[in-house]
Each structure stands twice: as C-alpha cells, then as structure tokens.
C-alpha cells in the first residue's frame, strides 16, 4: 500500500498529555507515553536450524537472542526473545508490511512469520519511579542489577499479559494486547499517581 490510512491507537480517545497525580514540582516520578506505528512481527522457527539463524541475521542485522529473556538490537530494530522457538521483531517502520515481507523473503516456509503490529499497544514507562511502578504490578525482581537494559520478561500485571522490555536504566516498554490497552493504561496511571506523572506526547515509532 502506498498511502496507508492512519493507524488508530487503542488509547486514541483516552490519551491526554499533561502532568497528573501528586504534586511533583516539575520532576515527575514517572513518565508515560504510547509508542505508535511500530512494526511488530512474530517469528517462530527452530533454534537449532542454521538456515533459520542465518536468515534472521541477514534480515535483521543481528543475532537471534537465544538466551531466555534477552534482546538483540540492530539500529532501530530489536529482536526480542519470547519463548524457546519464538521471537518478536520490532522496528519503527510505520508500514508493517515491509518488515513482514523482509522476514518472509529471508526465511523458508519452516519458519512462521506473522505480522502482529496491530495486536499490541506499546506503552513506554520511564522515570525514577518506573521500577517501583513495575514492582506494584508484577511478581518479578526489578532490581536495577537484575532487570537490566536489554532484558525482557513476559508476566502478568493487573491480570493482563505484558511483555516488558528494559530499554535503559529507567525506561521500559510494555507490550500489551490491544484489547487490554485501556485497562492497562488506567492501571499505569493509578499506580503512578502517588509519584506524580507526566503523559508525554504520543511517540511515533
């Protein structure tokens, strides 16, 4: 498609930029944003298949992260470990067809390549209290020495499945199934209230 009709976020009508919650004198404890127009493609293949490994490397420019809970990064593309035979490729490319086609072309048909760009709403959580907010939600160890940049974990927050990626020390991306997005957004806002939080403008990409 040449002219892609604008994609609408699940949070479109619930998203208001601004500062909320407890008074924070311009230093919000938490920053929240939604990342839009990402390409997200699930890749399922056999981890012992050298052809598959090579194909992904050539298509993505990085190695497949085999270690559970790890992420490989090549430029604006991340390859995120989901399960022993499942990865999620994420890029800021707004037309999801391109990433899907690239991967499809690179892999033979023993590999599943599934566009899931519209299946998730991606929320960015950052700020000095971001880890505390995660601690409220999930029974994982979010200590800065344990959950480090480049780590990923799939867990439950407020009864929703969430894939958490640690971007840097105080920044996390939350991949939430689209239908749960509003619930998760409300939960994040409630959990951030006591620290004072800022909803930034929508991040495109």
């Amino acid at each position: 498609m040449v002219d892609i009709t604008e994609r609408r976020s699940a949070l479109e009508s619930h998203y208001t930029a601004g500062t909320f919650g407890a008074e924070c004198n311009g230093h919000p404890g938490v920053m929240l944003a939604v990342r839009r127009n990402l390409s997200i493609v699930h890749v399922a293949g056999k981890p012992d298949d050298q052809t598959f490994i090579n194909a992904i490397k050539s298509a993505c420019g990085c190695d497949i992260p085999f270690e559970p809970g790890s992420v490989s990064v090549a430029g604006s593309l991340s390859l995120i470990w989901l399960a022993a035979d499942r990865w999620m490729a994420v890029s800021a490319e707004p037309d999801p067809g391109i990433l899907e086609a690239t991967l499809r072309r690179a892999c033979d048909d023993t590999v599943a390549v599934i566009d899931a760009s519209h299946a998730s709403t991606v929320l960015r959580l950052s700020g000095p209290q971001a880890r505390t907010v995660l601690m409220k939600g999930a029974p994982l160890d979010f200590h800065a020495r344990t959950f480090t940049p480049g780590r990923v974990a799939t867990t439950m927050i407020s009864q929703c499945t969430v894939t958490l990626v640690c971007i840097d020390q105080d920044t996390f991306d939350l991949y939430v199934f689209r239908s749960f997005a509003q619930h998760m957004w409300e939960w994040l806002r409630d959990a951030s209230e006591e620290f004072g939080y800022e909803v930034s403008d929508i991040l495109s990409g």
Binding site: M1, D3, I4, T5, E6, R7, R8, S9, A10, E12, S13, G21, A22, H42, A44, G45, D85, R86, P96, G97, D109, T110, V111, A112, V113, I114, D115, A116, S117, H118, A119, S120, T132, M135, K136, G137, A138, P139, L140, D141, H143, T146, S158, Q159, C160, F177, R178, S179, F180, A181, Q182, H183, M184, E186, W187, D190, A191, E193, E194
Partner: protein
C-alpha cells in the same frame, strides 16, 4: 491540675512525643488533646481515660492492657461514615488531628451499658451455651437467630463504598528482617554490611521495638540514640529498604512473606495519592525473625478490670509517651522483669504501693527496690482486683506450701494501677507459620523455636533470649548467618555495643491464682473473647482433650488478637485439668495473618471497574458514541443492542434482527478467537485436530470444523481458512480462544513435536466485522477491490485484498443464515473500516446489530454456541455425525467407541417451538413428558437457548433431549420449577430458517 494544657497523667517532659504539636481528638463524643507521637491509647491514658470498651460476651468494662498489637481489650471503632472501621486496637492507632473514635459493643454508652446485665447472669452462659440452648425446639431457631444476630458480633462495618485506595507491591531481597527492635536492627546492620539486599519491617511507626519504651542505655547513652544511628546508617544504604508501620502478617512456602504497610492510617485521611495501606509480597532468600516477646497476663480474679495492665506496657507508656498509667501501683509478678519495671516507674513518680511476688525466695533483683523502701511480698498473690469500672485496690494473700491454695491472712491494698507480669511469651507466630518446630522450655515456661523448616532463623527475645546485650549479639549473628546463607560468604557478625543484660530470673508458674472458697469471681484467660478459667475447666469436665477442639468450643484464642496474650495460659490451664504435661497437650496452630488485615488491602487496586480487566474491540469507542448497551462476554465488553430514541430494549433487538434479514447489518465479532498456523505440516495437524478433513481444503476456501476433547466430547467449533499452501487461519469461539491455543500448543510441544507447525494467536491483530443480510454483497462491492460476484466469490470462499483502502481479508461465512461475509482488517484500521462501511451503506440502510440480535439470528438458523458446546455433548448429539471422518485419525476419535457415547438414549439437539404461540420458553427449563407426574419427574433434556423469533413470530428455542431427533413433532413440556414457569413445546428441526441454505449461497 495546675496546668490545664498538660493532662493530669502526662509527665512534664520526656517521651518520644512532639510536645510542640498538640492534636485534638474525640473519643465517645468528648474532645481531648494529645501530642504527635501518641497512640490513641497513650493519649487517653494521659487524660485519665481507662474505660475504653465493653467485652464481647459479658459486656464487662475493659481498659487498656498492653501497648502493642497484642492488645485484647481496648478495641474501638475508628472514623466515621464510609471510613468507619470496628475492632481497631487503640494501642496501635497513631494519633492525628481530628481523630474520631468510639467505644463499641455497648449501648447507650460505654459507661452505662444495658447489656452489662449479661455479666450478672454469666454463670448461666458457660462455654457451649449457644450450642446447648438453641438447638431445641427446632422451629424456634429462626426466632432465636434474629435475637442472637443482634447481640452477637463485635462492632459494625461500614455499609458505604470504601473511599480509600489500596496498593500492592512485590519485592525480592537477600535478607528480610522482621522486627526493628535491638536484635532486628543489629541483624539488619550485619546483613547490610555484607552488601546484601536487606528489608527491615516493623509494625511500629518508629524503629527500636522495646527500646522505645524503656530507659535502657547502649554504650552508656540513651538506647534510642543508638537506634537512630543504626536506622540512619541503614537508610543511607541503597540496597536497604526500611518499612516502618509494616506488619509481617504471613509466612508462606518458598520464603514468601506478606507484609501490610499502613501508609496512610496515621493521617486524618489517606488524602491525595497516598494509598491507605499497601500489601507487600516479599520473596526473601533468607529471613531473620526478630519479632520479640509478649508479656503474659496473670490469671486472678477480675484481672480484666480497667487499670490492670501488663507491666512492660506501663513502662512503654512512660518512656515512649511520657504518660503515667496510674499514680499508685501494685505490681504482681512471677519473674524478675517486673523489678526493673518497678524501678523505672518509681523513677518517674509512680508510687509503688507493693510488689507481690509469688516466688518463695526474695529475688536478688528485689534488693534495689527494698532499698527504696518499697514493700515486697514474697510467696503472695493478688487473688482479686477490686473495683467496678476501674481498679481501686487488690486483695492479696500468702500461698500455702503447695502453692495451690490461699493460706489466709488477706490484706487489701489500695491502688489505681495493677501491673501484672506472668513472664514473656516469644512471638513464634511467623516461625510456626513457616512450619518451624517448637520446643517447650521448662524454666522459661514457654515454647521456643527449635528447628527451622524454611530459610529462616530467630534472634532476640522471640527465641527466648531476654538480656539486651544477648539480644544485640544474637541479632548480629543471625544477620551475618542470613547474609552468608544468601550467598554473601565473607559476612561476619558485627561487634555489638555495650548494654545491660538482665534476664527474667526463675519463673514460678502459677497458671491460675487460687481463689477463696465459693468465689464466683472470673479469672480471665482470653480477654477478647471473654474466656475464663471456668470455661476451660468446664470443657475439660465435658471431655475435651484436644487443644484444637477446646479452642473452638470455648473460643479461646479465636478473637482478632488470635490469643497473643492467652494461648499459653489457656493451654497451661487445660494441661493442669487434664493432668498432663504442657507439651503433651500441644499448641494450637498459628495461622496467618499475625494481625487482622483489611479486605480492601487484600483486593488492592483490583476492585470496581478493575476487578478484572475489560477487553475492548477496536470499534469500542464507536459503540459507546452511538449509545450501545453493553454486555460482558468473558472479559470482553460487547454491544448487546443499539437502542434508538423511543424504543424499548426489545424493540431495538427485534428491529436489528429483522433488519439483517431484510437489509444489511454489521456486527463486531472481533472477540472471536483467531489462530494463525504456519508450517509445512499445518494441514496434517488440522486433520488430526478436527473430526472432519482439512488436507484437501483448497487455498482461498474455508471450512467449518469441530474439535473434540480426548474424551470424545465436543471441545470447540469454528472455521479454518487456507490462505496459502502452508498458511491457515483458525477461528474459535470467544470463550475458547485461550483454551484452544493452549491445547494446540500442547499437542505440538508434547504429542507431535515432529510436526512442523507454528501456532500464534492472531485475535488481537484483527478487527473482525460480520456484514450480514441480503444487501451485504452490494455494500462490500462498494468498498473493496475484491470481485464480490457470486461466481467469483462463492460461499465459504476467502479473499485477500483492499478493504476501505487498507489490506484485509473477506471470508464468505454466515452465522445468521443470511448472505453474509466477515471482514478482517488489522485492528488499528478497524474503526476506520467500520465507519467507512456505515457511510458507504447509508442508502442501503446499513445498521449495526448487537449480541442479542446475533443470538436470535443464530438460534433461528440452529447454530450452536457455548450453551450447546457445554462439554457434555458429542458431535453426533449436535447433529454433526456426517462430518466425522472415517478415513483419518483425529483427537478424541477413540473415545467415540465408548459405550456411553454409543447408547441410544443420548440427548440430541432439537428445536423447540412454543405450542400456544405466545408463552416464552424459560431459559434452562427441563424437558418433561408430564410436569405434574409423580416425582421425581423423568427429565428428558433441557433448554439450552431460547428467544422470541421475529422470523417465526413465535417463541423458539434449542434443546438437547433424549433421542430428540426421533421425537420431532412430539409435544412435551418445558418446565422451570425454580421460576415457576412452564410451557408446552413442540419438538422440531433446529433450523427455523432456510434449512437448505439458499439464502447464504444466493
């Protein structure tokens, strides 16, 4: 009173209160003043208020007995309106400006309580009174119950919604230290010095534990200076989390503990954004329990009078709050700890009228008090406290040689405060919850930890160690051990500062103080539940041998305090009655939580609209803006119908139903499960999953499939579309989207790992819109580049192309029985496509329809849903026998040969029609031949779906009925005794419309 600003019982200086911050509060409608740092209990005592509550059963006057979470008597109702909360211990309520508290369990007032009459007849209300009295005559129970319900219970809960919010937190640490007293602080300090991640929790607002309420010295300076220094050192470490006001409530398996942090209880309201309470779930590699010990009451007559207090508590009120609990005290003890206390009280201006010590020998600890001229009576007991609403004096008497009788020579001593010390009970609650093994210690007369079961160790007085210096050393050692065990191998115990090391001396256990002959005076053991010695004696006489059963019969230890002050005394009395050694009788189980928890904190943020997540389709906002009424479908919120002005609900539903049959309607079916299958064995895999064949399904076609469970029952149904040679898209019912995916993953991972198939949920990726009705083709042909003609796009075809300028798929499938299509577009474009369809179809009168109309349409067509796929129906029962392939194996196939699935009496799917043309068919009704026949009436089957059909213009339904297909045209009854509805029904084919399928193929 010389200075009206300082209440009568407040010391002119001292205490850990902030005298520059007076706080006004109200108790039972009267205004009082206390200080920042007070508890409600200390502020009331400072004002000379001792009468706080009325007891649970006998409505006896009760005061303040302790200074902590063990308090069994001083229970009040806090706050007002929607924040009202009963049974809160005054000893744990931090004072704040404007605090409002009231006595409970009394009417009209705590001072004059009408139900106190119960106390006068208490001899007729022994243990088990309730069971013994109200069991006959049986028919009067309903009347008894009303009265009992009124009289029973403690306090009243709020009936309005809770306006506060609560939070949850999860944390991991290397060492969790429970208790911030000397042992706990030292343990935390030792563990933290190793670099371990340490959490330290204490139920008080201030760390220090017992030290807050004593005149102890550490390194020759006030002990609280040391506490402050250690606390500051710990706070400065980034890997130490300090949690004051946090009770460690429960200890579970895998060293997981649950903590309750009172984040907002000390504030007038937990205003702004601070939660009122926060529940922490902590996974600790190692735990140090430094939970301290609780002083035991002595069991003498009227020991529950206001003004009778635990000795250590009186010290705490002096040192922590600068409050004198009385001015003229008698101390009754069986151990040495009371002598330090007596000196402490005496130093602060309390007159010590006498110290009554039941031990025969004068303790060396007594010397410094007799030097001050204080009377000490050895081998004496206080056998009764005297007073009505406050203690006025005590009757004391020497004991006989055996210590089991009074030997005459009574003396009455006046006092306004009676301090009792029956020794100390280590707080082994968490240790026991963690399944640690206890041992009875003869000289300490208490249970102490013997063997840990989980990764924990005890330190300080919870281990039966009393001296301050020993507690500090024990803490340092335990903290270092814990850090070492958590992997910080080079850890060593830190040096401890110099401190006193007084112990309790030898205790002379006297579990029940003897009474004069024929005395009726009650000696209480469990103050909260009004259990006296007589109750346990009665239970023993009636044959109770087990401590657990005695507990339930007498209610010993069953109050909200969980018997913190009463368990050992109660157990000892039972042992004496049974003539057994205490450890033989055993101890009741310690159960979580350590102190009562607020339900709000347990539910945390999961309440109201967030009790469970709500799932919303990509078109949700459109449904909202057009005034749809919603209904939940699992977690999804789906439109039920779209009411127009002037319409009733049923008008809207029938209009939508008819509109689909005559024009064209849109329904949002995004919630249906969608599973993407790829891999070269996908077709083979589908063949094995469904009863019907999929190997030969051509690309560009879809097929209806039925999946069985292992046991041969139908698991789910749906369609499978072949998008490419090795690429399929499966749909499932909304409810089974998760379970089907899970099942497929299981089959691929465990049963057939050799198959090259990958399954991925695609439910969220696609917005699905069903377009149904005779005009649906015309509508779609306007918005897509796909050739929609009947020739090019036949029934059960699948096409990919542009839809409203976005890439998507169209499936020619029909749930309604009409010419219909289902559109799939990526979710972010779903709303755009829906709106475009509404615009493009304006002249075709396109209209949305909801779940209600969809349900009627599918019942008319005889399509099944979860009600029919109820786990008890086979493919044959549902009319799918012809679909079952005989040329391939599939999951559940073998079970189809089970006799129970072959027998002729199975229930089969049929249609029902109301015989009189007007009576509705009740939901869930039973199908019977004669509802008035002899009971039990034989049930032939049940109604699974029901509705009024605008098409048939009658009430119709679907049912599963024994040999139903052979009963077509039979007239039976559908009866629902529960709702008192019945209707005569005629059995018919489940296809009420277009049985040949001409509409959907047209």
């Amino acid at each position: 009173m010389n200075n009206p600003q300082i209440p009568q019982y407040r010391l002119p200086e001292g205490g850990r209160i902030d005298r520059s911050r007076p706080l006004s509060f109200s108790f039972n409608g009267r205004a009082y003043v206390g200080y920042q740092g007070d508890t409600l209990a200390s502020a009331l005592l400072a004002n000379g208020v001792h009468l706080i509550a009325r007891s649970f059963k006998y409505h006896r006057p009760r005061g303040i007995m302790s200074a902590g979470s063990e308090e069994p008597c001083a229970m009040v109702t806090m706050r007002q309106g929607s924040r009202i909360e009963p049974n809160i211990r005054a000893t744990q309520i931090e004072l704040y400006e404007g605090l409002v508290a009231n006595s409970q369990n009394c009417w009209p007032s705590v001072n004059f309580d009408l139900q106190a009459i119960i106390n006068k007849v208490s001899r007729f209300l022994p243990s088990g009174f309730y069971y013994k009295t109200f069991k006959w005559p049986k028919f009067l129970w309903m009347s008894y119950e009303k009265v009992i319900r009124h009289a029973a219970g403690m306090g009243k809960v709020a009936t309005l919604p809770d306006p506060d919010h609560y939070d949850h937190m999860h944390a991991y640490c290397d060492v969790l230290v429970v208790g911030g007293g000397p042992a706990g602080l030292m343990a935390a300090k030792s563990a933290a010095a190793s670099g371990a991640r340490v959490m330290l929790a204490d139920e008080q607002a201030e760390f220090g534990g017992t030290l807050c309420g004593r005149a102890e010295k550490i390194s020759n300076k006030p002990a609280m200076d040391w506490v402050a220094r250690v606390r500051d050192e710990l706070a400065a470490r980034p890997d130490v989390t300090l949690l004051p006001r946090t009770v460690v409530a429960s200890y579970y398996d895998h060293n997981m503990l649950v903590l309750n942090q009172r984040t907002g209880e000390h504030l007038p309201t937990a205003e702004g954004f601070t939660p009122r309470q926060r529940i922490w779930k902590v996974w600790a590699k190692q735990v140090v329990l430094a939970t301290g010990a609780i002083e035991r009451p002595l069991v003498f007559g009227n020991n529950d009078l206001p003004g009778v207090m635990l000795t250590g508590a009186v010290q705490t009120y002096i040192s922590q709050y600068g409050v004198l609990a009385g001015k003229n005290a008698v101390i009754f003890t069986n151990n040495d700890s009371a002598y330090d206390a007596a000196a402490h009280m005496h130093d602060n201006g309390i007159k010590i009228a006498a110290i009554i010590d039941n031990r025969k020998q004068t303790s060396p600890a007594a010397q410094k008090l007799s030097d001050r001229g204080i009377l000490i009576f050895n081998n004496h007991v206080v056998y009764q406290a005297v007073g009505s609403k406050h203690v006025r004096g005590v009757n004391i008497s020497p004991l006989n040689e055996n210590g089991d009788k009074l030997s005459g020579g009574n003396i009455k001593i006046d006092c306004d405060l009676l301090c009792m010390s029956g020794g100390w009970t280590p707080s082994v609650h968490l240790f026991s919850q963690a399944r640690g093994k206890l041992r009875w210690h003869e000289t300490l007369t208490t249970f102490i930890p013997e063997k840990s079961f989980q990764q924990e160790r005890s330190a300080g007085s919870c281990k039966g160690v009393w001296g301050l210096s020993d507690c500090l050393k024990g803490g340092a050692k335990a903290g270092a051990e814990a850090a070492k065990a958590a992997g910080f191998t080079k850890t060593r115990a830190l040096k401890t500062p110099a401190a006193s090391n007084h112990d309790m001396g030898d205790i002379r256990a006297l579990w029940r103080v003897p009474q004069p002959p024929r005395s009726q005076t009650k000696r209480f053991i469990d103050f909260q539940d009004d259990v006296a010695t007589s109750d346990i004696e009665l239970a023993a006489r009636e044959g109770y041998r087990s401590v657990e059963l005695t507990k339930r019969y007498t209610t010993l230890g069953m109050g909200t305090d969980q018997g913190k002050t009463s368990n050992i005394n109660g157990l000892a009395v039972l042992s004496e009655e049974l003539g057994k050694h205490i450890p033989e009788v055993g101890l009741t189980t310690f159960r979580p939580p350590y102190t009562a928890q607020t339900l709000g904190a347990i539910s945390g943020p999961e309440r109201g609209g967030h009790f469970a997540p709500t799932r919303r389709s990509p078109v949700h906002d459109w449904h909202v803006s057009t005034g749809a009424s919603f209904m939940p479908a699992g977690l999804w919120m789906r439109p039920a119908y779209y009411q127009q002005p002037g319409e009733t609900m049923w008008d809207a539903i029938y209009r939508e139903t008819k509109h689909v049959r005559s024009h064209v309607g849109l329904v949002d079916v995004s919630s249906l499960g969608k599973i993407d299958l790829q891999g070269k064995d996908s077709a083979e895999f589908l063949n094995r999953c469904y009863i019907n064949g999929f190997a030969k399904l051509p690309v560009g076609k879809c097929r209806y499939g039925v999946m069985l469970r292992d046991d041969g029952m139908v698991f789910d149904d749906g369609t499978v579309s072949r998008l490419a040679e090795n690429h399929f898209m499966m749909t499932t019912t909304t409810a089974k989207a998760g379970p089907v995916l899970q099942y497929l993953e299981y089959l691929l991972d465990v049963v057939w790992p050799e198959l090259d198939v990958h399954v991925v949920s695609a439910t969220e990726q696609w917005c699905a819109i069903a377009v149904a009705g005779p005009k649906s083709r015309e509508l779609l042909s306007r918005i897509t580049d796909i050739d929609m003609s009947n020739e090019a796009f036949e029934f059960m075809g699948v096409r990919q192309g542009n839809i409203c300028d976005v890439p998507g798929r169209i499936y020619r499938i029909s749930f309604s029985g009409e010419l219909a299509y289902e559109i799939g577009v990526p979710s972010d474009w779903g709303l755009h496509v829906w709106e475009s369809l509404m615009t493009a179809g304006k002249d075709l009168k396109v209209s949305p329809y909801g779940l209600e109309a969809m349900s009627i349409l599918r019942i008319e067509k005889g399509h099944i849903v979860g009600a029919e796929l109820n786990g008890r129906t086979t493919a044959d029962d549902l009319g799918f026998a012809a679909m079952i392939s005989t040329r391939k194996p599939f999951m559940g196939q073998r079970s189809l040969r089970k006799p129970a699935l072959l027998e002729g009496e199975r229930k089969q799917l049929v249609g029902l029609i109301s015989l009189d043309g007007k009576t509705p068919i009740p939901r869930g009704a039973q199908i019977v031949v004669n509802p008035d026949g002899p009971t039990p009436v034989a049930m032939l089957g049940e109604v699974t779906s029901n509705c009024y059909s605008p098409h048939v213009e009658n009430h119709i339904g679907l049912a599963i009925v024994k040999r139903g297909r052979q009963r077509i045209d039979e007239i039976l009854w559908a009866t629902s005794p529960l709702t008192k509805q019945r209707v005569r029904v005629k059995l018919c084919s489940p296809h009420f419309i277009d049985p040949q399928g001409e509409r959907l193929r047209g």
